[in-house]
Point group: C2
Chain length 278, copies 2
């Protein structure tokens, strides 16, 4: 028995980058199972009536071609532009509208209806902190630069390829967290002590670990058939690193089944860092 596949086009229409529309759309559409294929089309920077009219043409053409009304997720704020896009032959979903009205009622204060404010703030201290954090995390990746570790908000530690680098960069990029990272290596396990460089910053350390099988897979993709990638080596390093973190009372988590976002969120929670951008 063939299961019917339902296909629908989803337009993400925004007056700015469309990143909020995209995050929102991904989350809402992931609530549906694989028998429904959503084709997302991004239409950012729709900040004029002229552009809005082009959007209307595209939506109408799609409805004609597919025989189905497409879904339109809108984060448009300007009423004139929104009403133009709303006139197209699609199911128009105004992502902000309902919630902004709710909050206006609650606080008895009107919103600005200003365009694209959330990703348009380059000249603020927050934005500079974020760029600084990215530069910090880059230069303090993999223990390559050991000065200014006192400025780190967190220092991620763990064996090679357990997820330290993407997590550090994500923390910096999204939350302006100065996240350094430092590898735990076989040398450290032989000496049976944390790398001396990071011992003074023990209260900033957070450990990442990973199942040895998964680690071996990841390392094999990078260096196939090396002794570095064998399951024995991976088991040894993971066991030793977890032993070390437990002994030294360093909080840690396993990254095996976690996405960058899940690891980063957990790190933030565990070490109680405020989200600087919020």
């Amino acid at each position: 028995m063939n299961q019917e596949i339902i296909e629908r086009t989803v337009y993400l229409v925004s007056d700015s980058t469309g990143i909020t529309a995209e995050t929102f759309s991904n989350a809402v559409l992931s609530q549906f199972d694989d028998t429904i294929k959503f084709k997302q089309i991004h239409l950012p920077f729709i900040f004029s009536i002229e552009k809005a009219k082009e959007v209307v043409s595209r939506i109408n053409q799609n409805a004609l071609d597919t025989g189905n009304q497409p879904i339109v997720f809108s984060t448009l704020v300007n009423h004139e532009i929104m009403n133009t896009v709303r006139s197209a032959n699609g199911i128009f979903l105004d992502i902000f509208g309902t919630f902004v009205s709710n909050i206006e009622q609650l606080i008895g204060h009107k919103s600005n209806n200003s365009i694209g404010r959330s990703h348009n703030v380059t000249n603020t201290e927050k934005y500079r902190n974020r760029i600084d954090a990215i530069n910090f995390s880059l230069s303090h990746d993999d223990g390559q630069f050991v000065h200014q570790l006192n400025q780190a908000d967190v220092i991620l530690i763990g064996v090679s390829r357990c997820g330290k680098t993407p997590t550090s960069l994500y923390l910096a990029m999204q939350y302006a967290i100065k996240a350094a990272n430092f590898p735990l290596t076989p040398d450290d396990f032989e000496r049976n002590t944390l790398p001396s460089t990071i011992i003074p910053y023990k209260n900033k350390l957070f450990g990442l670990s990973i199942h040895p099988e998964r680690l071996s897979e990841v390392r094999n993709e990078r260096r196939p058939n090396s002794s570095y990638s064998t399951i024995e080596q991976c088991r040894y390093e993971v066991t030793e690193s977890e032993k070390m973190m437990r002994r030294d009372g360093i909080p840690w988590l396993s990254t095996t089944t976690k996405s960058i976002e899940e690891i980063a969120t957990t790190v933030l929670q565990e070490i109680g860092l405020n989200r600087r951008l919020a």
Copy 2:
């Protein structure tokens, strides 16, 4: 005349990372002006009734302490957990609910109500592409590794400190785009030609530029009072790089007033790259 400042606590409650709730909340709240202070409190990983009850206590306590009902943005999916949190003394805004129902009606198909799917996909090809892209962009930052440039989806070029590195990392992190970047230096301007390494990949090049005054500010933060940071040097480099990009027909944009998100979105649009994660 003093303008009254309105303060409100906003809880972001999610069964997963809360990143969607956060992006959404930042966008909606940025529609209000500075006379309203929203204090956002992140409560991720609320995946049990027990945790939901703790959330209720926190919200109720806040309502008591402040004398105002807090705003609760929820991306909870499980009905039992949602109804528990909804019972708290706050204004409960169900971010997904309305839209999921709309789409269910439209396509005649029920959603899964499954928890935290959008940031919980580590073992998929998409996720691996993303990690690969991050590693690629890191190793191809600032022209440091010139092999495998043929695998790049885009190569950003421009003078030192014009925004290439954060943009490359953002493209990789968010969209699994393999974004290399390569500096244009005074040497290139003297030779009056693009760096020979990147000439074979001309169709992948995208240029970033910046106002000389802003560039001088950024460089001065990094290397105060150096010849590298003088306004004269910055004017020279910016003029020459723009001349080179124009002459060689390379698309480019000015980053001066643009956030990382705005630059990345524009690059994606201009070079017509599909968003691999979408």
